[in-house]
Each structure stands twice: as structure tokens, then as C-alpha cells.
Amino acid sequence: MTYITKPKLHHPSLPKNSVGFTRRDYEGRVSTLCAGCGHDSISASIVQACYELAIEPHRVAKLSGIGCSSKAPTYFLGASHGFNTVHGRMPSVLTGAYLANRELIYLGVSGDGDSASIGLGQFAHVMRRGVNMVYIVMNNGVYGLTKGQFSATADKGSVAKKGAVNNDSGIDLASMAILMGATFVARSFSGDKHQLVPLIKAAISHPGAAILDVISPCVAFNNHKGSTRSYDYVREHNEAVNRLDFITGQAPITAEYAPGTTVEVRQPNGTTLRLAKIAPDYDPSDKAGALAYIQEKDREGEVATGLLYLDSDPHDLHGNIRTVQAPLNSLDEETLCPGSDVLDRINAALR
């Protein structure tokens, strides 16, 4: 068995959110990933974010590819439909699902092998199309399920557990996503829940293609000295550009910031994102600047994290092709079938 059912006993005093769910209602089955796997922390952050946003779990569809990361959707949002697709092709399935019903929240879960190696093509094109989704890459630089091969995000010169040195250039999915047209691009670290949870909430609120590249150390195969994806390495080299408060349209602003140290971005759907600046000159609305900053930090051996790029007026696939507001999967014969009279006219024109 590779899943374990969680006991359903809830403490009666567990707090409920505004739609009547406790935090535990957002959990899934017990994880079968290795103890200490970064992916489990990301799952926990997703649970926390959905609980705090008071999303009804069944309004989320979670889709994944293949790999350790792609097993993770079993371990959160047990009341949501999930789809474990094929390796590297989750983006197209998610795109189709989104086309069918624009009203659900789509959570794409993938890994670095799934997105940067076999799935680089679909990764690029789903960003180009502006599919309204949250795409989470659980990025550990290594193939876990097949026991320790490098993935395409592994840094050049990093060392595998068994001593092999990676000679190939690493792919930076955050930069790729910015270039390909994603409108919300963030990077975080599975070990930094305070940074990650608000980023997930903001990504869910973003009405366009949102991607979170989450460094998520693999305790089994990529947590050793010489790895650039180990807990120790990422903790030492994490350079956050900002800290995000996710704020809905109605919620009061609670945290205090010194004047000039925050930026507020209002999104077309009425949500507001407030960013506390950490790198004082960093402007996440500047695409070229973001790309340059990521490159600069990379050269210094640092990992730039935070909300790296945000287009406050994002495009969206349904908007681009001007589909009706009602989900396509809800349309009936009346609206879809032109009927026999029209067909008679079509026949007449073909004689």
C-alpha cells in the first residue's frame, strides 16, 4: 500500500473558516513520501493557504504529472478531484480542464523533471496561453522515484550523492516562466512557510498564469554537501526580494510597515497584494529588471526568492478567446446545436 487513510476524528474545538471548514478538511491522505521531504511542507502550506482563503475544497481541481512531486496531490485537498496525468504533460490536461469549466480553481503540481526535462515544452506553452492556474513546481534538482539522477534544474557543477558532477546548464524555471508570459512568478523555499503560504494565497487570487518555483530539498538523494538544493545550502543562500501580505479587497491591513517600504498592487478581480520590500530597489512589475536580478543573484550563488514578477493586468486564456461566462461543460443542446433548419440551409448551399 502506498497510502494510509488518516483518522477522521476531529477535535470539536478546531476552528472553522468562513465557509465552515476546519484546517483538517483540507488535508489529504497520509503522505508516503520520505520523512523530511520538502514536498510535504509544500502540501502543508497549500492546506494552510486554502483554509485561510476559505476556499470550498471541491471547487479546486488538482492536476499533476509524474514523479514524487506529482504524487503529492494525494496528500492534500482530499475532497477535491485530482488527476495524476502522464509525465511532463500535466499542463495540457490542465488547459483542457480549464477550457471546460472556467469556474474552478486549478492547481497544477509538478516537479523539476516533470516540468524542466520531459515537460519543458508544455511548461512554456501553458504560460504563454495565460491559463488561469497556480502551477507549483516542487523543485529538488533530482529524480527521486528513480533514485537520484540529475534533473534539468540541477545547477551546473553541483554534485550528486554518488559523486557525479553535473556538467549541463541548469534551467531556471522562474526566468523561463517570465520570458514565456506568466503573469505571476514567485520563488520560495519549502522550509519557509511564512514566505510560502502568502505566496500560494496570492497566486490563487491571481487571475492568470501563476507559477511558484518552490525549492524543496530531497532528503534521500539531494541533501548532501555539494548539492545546491540541500536544506543547508538554500537556507544559507536564500535572498528574498520582498515579503508578501496577501490582502483581499475587504480585509483590513494589519501589519505595520515603515513608509516607503511597501508596495500595493490591486488586481482586476478586486484583490490587493501588499509587498514589503526587502531588496529596496526591486520592482516586481519590471520584467527585464526581474530577469536581470535573478541572473545577478545566480552569479553570486544566491537564490532570489519572493514575488519576482507580477503583471497587475494579466491576460487569461478564456478572455483571449472570448468564451461565454458559463462553463462550456454546462452548455446544452439549445445553445450548442444549430438545429435542423440551419442544416437545411447548409445543405442548400452545398448543392
Binding site: 481541481a61 495524476n84 461565454v324
Partner: protein, 619 residues
Amino acid sequence: MRQALTGTALTATNDFVVKFANVNGSGSASANELFARSILRMGVPVSPRNIFPSNIQGLPTWYEVRVSEDGYLGRRGGIDMIVAMNPETWEQDIAEVAPGGYLFYDSTRPLPPSAFRDDVTTIGVPLTAITNATYSDPRQRQLFKNIIYVGALSVLLDIDPKVIESLFGEQFKGKEALIDSNVKALNLGRDWAQQNLDAGICRLKVEARDKVGDRIFVEGNAAAALGCVYGGATVCAWYPITPSSSLAEAFASYCRRYRHDPETKEARYAVIQAEDELASIGMVIGAGWNGARAFTSTSGPGISLMTEFIGLAYFAEIPATIINVQRGGPSTGMPTRTQQADLLSCAYASNGDTKHVLLFPEDPRECFDFSAAALDLADRLQTPVFVMTDLDIGMNHRLCEPFAWDDAKRMDRGKVMTAEELEAGRDFGRYLDVDGDGIPYRTLPGTHKSKGAFFTRGTTKNAYARYSEEGSDYVENMERLLRKFDTAKGLVPQPIVREADSPTRYGALYFGSTSPAMTEALDRLQADGLLVDAMRLRAFPFPDQVRDFILAHDKVFVVEQNRDGQMRTMLSTELGIDPARLVPVLHYDGTPITAHFILGEIRRRLAQYHVVPLERAVS
């Protein structure tokens, strides 16, 4: 240029083949289609075929029009008149003409006598000279030269000019200037021919009949696209590939016309040109999983790329409609030639044990019907369904029965459990065979607050969609999938039988675009007193009567357009038939199969079996 003709000139009314040899990109296609349509409007059936290269401009292209009062729409083979407009292919084109046939050419530049055949009537019209004397704009010269030859041909063949003029009127409705200029060009050709050609030079004639009835003239790709509109498809994801591209484009075009909200002008459909076929099928599967009717159209190489996903859809039981407009070979195969060579790659697409539903339309009308039916079948059976058309049907105008639709018909969305049913406490196991037909119930994402959610994956699951690697769960699931496939037998279009005049030991099976050639071949066999029962297969899995038909005959010819006898393999494997009983009749050079070929093959085999015609046998 006139030469004395050796032998007799071909004489025929409403029964001949004209082939146009053109350079592609020269605008000849619409003039040639005009020629074909004008004969059709005179009540005489025609079947035109494009024979074109994988190229946009400058290479040879042909358009072959068979005129057949008897209504035979298959390719006949042989050419009675060549309209030789391409110097590059001159030799080949002239050589193809039947003895006694006709050569129509542009005689502006003199050609040596060696360029002609003395057993073919030569009809020269100085098309370039006429054109250049009238038009100065190069594009006009190019386009109107084509209309001028249609004009000259209308005189030679007795095509009614009023019919052509009315076709201009329909084509350029509201653009009087265009109508006038086309009529003028037509008359330039007509006037020259009437003034300069002997009245009796051409003995191929068109005479008005009433043999077309209310049939329509349409390409299979457009028909299939329309079937998807009527069948309720809302998502089309595709990647350009010849010969299927015009199908997705036609779907988009029909949708622009019939699928916009009249008030908001918003689209009740989504057409996505994907980055490749991996993505197009992925999108179709995602949409199908989420309850939208979705399809893709593609051809052989696209199917190869989609194969892993098709397997997932089979095992995860997700509706998907795939229209395969078959062509020859691999990517650098024969993309502009026709074949039926993807049967095995579609029927068993994927790793693992899989079988898929295939439908075989014979013409555009069935492309329409079967595409709409495929969307129903995919939802009902929760599985990929293939519509196996081909280039011959897909990219050529074909005369067929008019489209028909019953407004009382509802979409069959299959077994989808609703929020109300879940709320009422109905047991939901995604892969439970509740009804004994192998088809389980599904729920759509977002249906119910706390019930009915499940995790979709391949085969590592039990009947409640929980993760399982237990062998017993796997086997139970795979057995249920076989039961489901068995259920499909009764839901797919059933075969159509044509019995010979008397009981016979010989049968023939055929399918898809082979149909018109086969009909003609069967008529000829019947006329010759050779008895062959025939069955047109319309779907896989094979309904039980296919097996019965085969077992009722000693030998069954299996007529198909591929090298390896793929249908024969499937019949033998799926029905447990001794392959010796199934005699392959295979045509696979990329051209559409002809009655002539089928007749030759069947006659030859029958002679080997010492079959003599019925009349002689009884006399």
C-alpha cells in the same frame, strides 16, 4: 495544330474522366471546381479528386474529374481528356491519356509534332494569347486564364454556360463587378472555341439529366467539423497536419457562424491550436475529464505522438473523440496521398492492453453522422473514440446524401452522477460496474461539497479509485474494461450487407473510402454473374454479425488500402478467424482505390478457385 488521328476518337456522354494538370498556387483549383460543379448542376454526378504535392507554390498538381451518369463516385482510373496546363508534366500527362482520348492545351507557343500523340485528338486553344490580349495585370492574367479554359471546355463538352454564370452569381453574390469579369473571361474562351474549333472535334459530351437529386457536394473534413458542431463539441484542440488541418479550421469557421451568443457575441466553444499533438490530445482529455465534449483532428504521425495519452484515457476512462484523416506513411511519408493504414496503430494505441473504438465513415455524410455519434459514444463509453476517415474523403468534394438532424435528439452524456444523487446517498465507486455493462459512473470536478471526489490515475487503483497495486484489483479492472468493450459492439454503427443474387461461398469485406469503388466493382461482378456477398464494416469492435458473415463464406475478400492487411489482422485476431479464410485485396500506392483494381483482384482469385459466372454454370 491539327494532326490526322489514328484509330477512333472516344465517344461518350456523361461517362468520362477529365484530368487537369496545373501548377499549384496558380488559382486553378477554383476554376477546376467550377468545371465540376457546372456538370453537377446539369444533374450529372461527378467525383473530383485533388492530386497534389506537399507544397504551396510552383509544383505540379492535378485535379481529376470523373463524370458518371451511373453515379459511380470512386476513382475510375484512366484519363479520357487531359487539360495540360503544366509544361513540366507534359510528357507524363500526355502518356496517361487513353487511346482515342483528347489533349486540350495552350497553343500560344508552337510545339514540335513530337510533343503530341497521333492516337489522341489534339485541341489547342491559345489561352495565353487570348489572356494577354485582354488583361494587363499579372494576377488577373493568371486567374482569368483558368476561367477562359473552362469557357472553351464548356463549348467542347456542351456544358450549359447559363449554369456556370449562375454559379458565378452564387460565388460572388453582391459583388457584381466580379461576376461580370468572370462571365467576360468565360465568354472569351467560349467565343474563341466557337469561332475556331470544329464543332465535332470533341465527342465527349455532357447532357442534362436528373441524376443528382437532393444530394450535396461537400468535403469530408467540413462534414466532420459540422458533425462536431451538431454533436455538441465545445473544445477542439489540434495541431496542423495534412490532410486534417482543414477539419479544425472548418470547425472554427462553423462555430464563428453558429456558436456565438447572439447578445454578448461571446464564444460557446474553444478552439486551441496546440504546440503539438501531445498537447492537443492532453487538452481534449483534460476537457473530457471535466465534462466538456472535446475532440481533436489529426493524421498518422499525430496519432503516434498521442499514443501515451490515448492509453491513459483508456485506462482512466475519459471521453475523447479523435478524428484521424489518414494519409500515407510517416512524417516524410506521403502526406498528400490517401491510405487506410492507421487501423492497428489506432485500434491498439498505447502501452499496456488496450482496445479502442473505431468508426469508419464511407463519405462526407457519414463523416458528419459518425463525428456527432463519436461524441455520444465517447461520453457513453468513457473512452477514446476514433473516426477513421482519410484524405480521399476528407479533402475532396464528394456527392453524398444531405445532412440530416433530428431536433428531438439529446446529447448522451453517459453515466455522470449528479450532486442530487450523491446527496441522496447513492454509493459512488468510480470504477464499480453497477449495471453489469462494464461502464462505471463518474463525477465531474466541483459537483458536490463533500461527496464524489476521486483521484484519477492509470491502473493503480481499486473500484473506488483508491491507490492499489494489488493484482486482483488490476485484473478485476481489466476484465471490466473488456466487458465495456463488449458493450460497445451494440452501440457502434452496425455493418451493412449487400447480398449477391443467389447464395454464394464468397464474401467481401470493405470499409471507409473504399465504398464507391467497391459498389461499382460489385455491380460489375453482379452483371458478370460472379456471386459475391459484401459487408461494409462501419465500426470496431466488430458486432457479432461480422463473425457470422465470415463463417457463412468459404473465402472472404478483405479489401483495404494498406500494405499489411491490417483489417484482416484485426478480424483474424479479434474474432478467432482462420486467416486462410480471409483473402487480402490490398491497394496502397497512395492513390484512391479503383473499381478496376478490385475487380481485377477478385476476378483473378475467383478464377483460381475455379469459379465460373452463374449463367455459364447453369447453361
